[in-house]
Point group: C2
Chain length 604, copies 2
């Protein structure tokens, strides 16, 4: 069989289109915070990540999947390849890239950082996650920690000397963080003594850095019950000895179990025990009892990272299946039955092209959404006008549940299609699509399950500000529609997307009204269907933007003709196949259909 | 955490309902072929299988998944537990159960055998598959083999002394069997010498039986190209020495590779080389060049077995997630936010019940369909009136692609939901849902991919006999609708299902007409959407039958109230959530939407 082309991980021209045309990222450099950058520095950052991803991270993916981290003498030993990868990733400077100069950052737009990191994620999700987790943990300290914590921990984490984790989940408190039971007892020495159990702590132990800093939720003795009694602590695996030097001593955080995850196998997930010897010290971050609110201020960022993981994992599999479909001969066209003619590559079969175009629609529609959400985060934080910042914040809040869950749910479907295209070979671990399918499944679970995203979207974000978020959405989509019409995209396509947004707005008003009249259960009973339809419309919007941008570019530069034609095909596919589901799903959300709501579990 | 209840694998009361009420299986005993049976013998067969499944096969599932078969000195060593399981499964007598007395069978209806074997599959898919494969291979010899082959091979295979395989696929000939290249050279001694390579041969080698008989497709030297030159051979791993005794000698079938499948890990999948030493003997089965047609006569049977695998694999996961949801405390009802109250089992959350009811709808709707298809197979073979046999054959042919693909596609979705309900735990191999998810994925690939089922349904079966198949379907569904109305099911439900069948019929006529006018590509371009909508309607029919039957039973026996209530909920769920997709999918099938048909793969 011919050897398929090397996997590009992410389509470079799609990235270029997002950077230059679709989302006007260079326009961000007009904002003072990003003023040191230009198109060239953006391209350099992306290109460095791309090269590291292809040349270094991707070749290590399979070995790391095949040989997960292991426990030895109570400590985790990671795959030896990670020792080479970690410094190379740190050298890219992405850990603190979007952060301000004063903390060692580069003031790079998140949107550009997303375009760079998506290559790393696609190449080797586990390897990149050490960086992503460290970034998130350090950012918490940057935002809420005092000078001591920032100087001791944040600085080293952004520099990649130490790594970080998020230690939220406990065996009895997964989705329900109000049930966190780890305790923190104050001492007179400025620190607390922690005691309790954490579980599913990604990167919770390893031998990659000198120290690991756990951003830990715990309850100060005497705190109120529920989320209003949960505080955030900085709990290092090893703490400074306190003798003025750099010496570190063990901080009584023990590994009590290694979870055998089905994917992300290069990144260990651990059960940890704090304070088994009564000597686990933690330092309060910010004020007491505000841990959950601090975490939630970082949540959009974390959820966008999960969404990007999902896009990346679907993308690498899409490209693998595309290369396979182009080279694997099997069967003949329906009309050409002569068995003495050579077999054709399976990409010639319409149903295989359907599976490819569907993957493309999910992957590139998802990437556009994630970069757009990142851009809103940039403007929300650094916009020059208060109204612009507020609009961007509204949009970011509205899009986050979709950006988190769409790549997880549809990405899983896309990953299954990539396996399917590989036929019997896809069902074996000799080929990689099955590994990416395993990786993808986590994204519908961590950082809030899909069910929780659905309740968050309908119950909070879509009805926020009395409809202000949806009004902003309609306005943003309206701009895209106008652009598409000008670019020469079939006006019917632009109309369809605008009509769909109007339908979502009307539906949301009706459901919100039901809630306001006291029927919250009725409002929320089809929240998952609502998330599905909302996501379908949001992704239709991305495709309108992508098709318009590609057409504009192709008008200037004929070498973009093929890109524009493929974007146009994906837009048509999405509008014909997915958008019409809206009517049925909206009817379901409005209906009194209560089959599972009313279901007595004892009947099952 | 409380320990969930033992997994029942399959819902016993659902099986009882199918046996006694929904599908009138006892009515089959009025046919002479089945006359030795009665309700009690049926129940005995099912109960023996159920007990073996729960007590013996299920406890071996995890060890077999964890420790797959391995190669040693060119031969496959299976998991040691299989040595205990194999004779126990053979003792059940299911290998030849539906076959006639004269070949050692019990003349048991396939429909009843399906209800028995589905427990075995749910308990341990790999273990059962050795039996299923042997049954299929022996049946080929029974149907098409001469006396010598039947006496030497078939008899021992039905008795479980030897096992069997289907050796169709080659590296260059997977879905395209017309490209089979293995050659068979005639000798003057009644046998052929085979030479070639096979791949993905399930159970193609193992140390479980004294001999393995490969039903092998090969091309006789000088045969025409394409499927009309492919013949069927009986090729044992070891052949009788020919000295009149029972001695066996090696038949030159070598193991050249062990495929590392992601599921079904108790059943090795192998690459085999025939005739590396020029001494691989095969015996022609039936006439030359008819191998594909023989295989296709067994295809409905094989596809129904795959469908049953899918139902079984979704069922065991459904029950696991149901038990988990009943015992795992997490969170509180939306209206009860007091954090000092105990957490509730997650089954109390509406979205978890949605995921459970969806699984139930797929699993039990699928099982009803598979048993119904099996019943048609029984009547097609043994009906007392030619017209009845013909009607049953039409229905069996029509339903087979749905029976094969629906449990594979929607079952995969159901398996993913079972994992999702387990949250972070579901993402680990400490829990079993991930293993069943892996198992399930094969069912959309083997015995004809879903894409191939779709083309088979729309291109051949649905348009068969100038609409006779769909007329028969409408008639059968009409009976169910009448029954449902009499039983007191909401008439709107019965009307909706009847209308849906009428819509499918109209759509099929339109698409078939397009094909007859020469636009075969236009007819077939949305074949996969057609399969999706067709399956949705067929499963709606099953739910109408199940709800009606349960209501009838509950009217006679109040202890069935809960069963009836749950069936009613699943019917409502399917009709409200799935059936309305019909309009959109039918429009898509009718449309000229050609995004992927027209897509030039070079654009991607």
């Amino acid at each position: 069989m011919p050897v398929p082309a090397a996997n590009p991980l992410i389509d470079d021209r799609d990235v270029e289109l997002l950077l230059d045309d679709a989302l006007d990222l260079v326009g961000l450099t007009r904002l003072p915070y990003f003023a040191d950058h230009d198109r060239q520095t953006f391209a350099l950052v992306i290109d460095s990540a791309r090269r590291l991803a292809r040349d270094v991270l991707y070749p290590a993916y399979r070995p790391m999947d095949e040989q997960p981290a292991r426990l030895a003498d109570g400590r985790v030993i990671v795959h030896p390849r990670l020792r080479e990868l970690w410094p190379r990733m740190i050298d890219l400077g992405l850990t603190a890239a979007p952060r301000p100069h004063e903390v060692g950052g580069q003031q790079l737009p998140m949107a550009v950082a997303s375009l760079a990191t998506v290559y790393l994620m696609a190449a080797n999700l586990s390897a990149y996650s050490y960086v992503g987790l460290t970034q998130g943990a350090a950012h918490l300290l940057e935002a809420f920690g005092d000078e001591h914590l920032r100087a001791t921990y944040m600085k080293r984490m952004y520099a990649g000397t130490w790594s970080g984790t998020m230690a939220l989940t406990e065996p009895q408190a997964g989705s329900s963080l109000s049930d966190v039971a780890t305790t923190a007892t104050p001492t007179g020495d400025g620190h607390y003594l922690l005691s309790g159990s954490k579980i599913f702590i990604s990167g919770g132990d390893h031998d990659l850095t000198d120290n690991i800093v756990h951003m830990t939720l715990a309850r100060i003795a005497g705190a109120p019950a529920g989320i209003k009694g949960v505080s955030l602590f900085c709990v290092p695996r090893r703490r400074p000895a306190g003798d003025g030097g750099d010496r570190l001593v063990d901080n009584d955080v023990a590994v009590t179990g290694l979870i055998h995850k089905i994917g992300w196998r290069g990144l260990p997930s651990l059960a940890l025990a704090y304070g088994e010897r009564g000597d686990c010290r933690g330092w309060l971050v910010g004020e007491p009892h505000k841990g959950i609110s601090y975490m939630f201020q970082m949540m959009n960022e974390a959820r966008i990272m999960v969404g990007l993981n999902g896009v990346a994992t679907a993308s690498v599999a899409y490209h693998e299946s595309l290369a396979y479909a182009r080279t694997r001969p099997q069967g003949r066209p329906v009309a050409a039955k002569d068995p003495t003619t050579p077999q054709v590559p399976i990409v010639r079969h319409a149903d295989v092209r359907r599976m490819l175009l569907r993957q493309k629609a999910i992957v590139e529609g998802g990437l556009c959404l994630l970069v757009r959400a990142s851009r809103y985060a940039d403007v929300a934080a650094h916009g020059d006008v208060a109204a612009t910042r507020e609009r961007a914040r509204l949009m970011l809040d509205l899009l986050t549940p979709v950006a988190k869950s769409f790549p997880a749910e549809r990405g899983f479907e896309a990953n299954a299609l990539a396996l399917q295209i590989h036929g019997g070979y896809g069902y074996s671990s000799e080929y990689l699509p099955e590994a990416w399918l395993r990786d993808q499944k986590l994204n519908s679970i961590h950082e809030g399950t899909t069910g929780i995203q659905a309740m968050d979207l309908l119950g909070r974000r879509a009805v926020a500000g009395g409809g202000a978020a949806l009004a902003a959405l309609a306005d943003e989509v309206g701009r895209t529609a106008a652009r598409a019409r000008t670019a020469g995209i079939d006006a019917a396509h632009a109309d369809a997307v605008e009509r769909a947004v109007a339908a979502v707005t009307a539906l949301t008003a009706e459901l919100g009204g039901r809630g306001l009249r006291g029927d919250v259960d009725g409002m929320m009973s089809h929240a998952t269907d609502y998330l599905d339809l909302f996501s379908t419309v949001i992704v239709a919007w991305q495709w309108l933007e992508l098709a318009a941008a590609a057409r504009e570019r192709a008008a200037r530069d004929a070498t973009w003709h093929d890109v524009a034609a493929a974007k146009q095909a994906a837009l048509r596919y999405w509008l014909a196949t997915e958008l019409p589901r809206l009517g049925h799903l909206a009817a379901l959300c409005r209906s009194a259909e209560d089959s599972y709501v009313a279901l007595d579990p004892d009947w099952l």
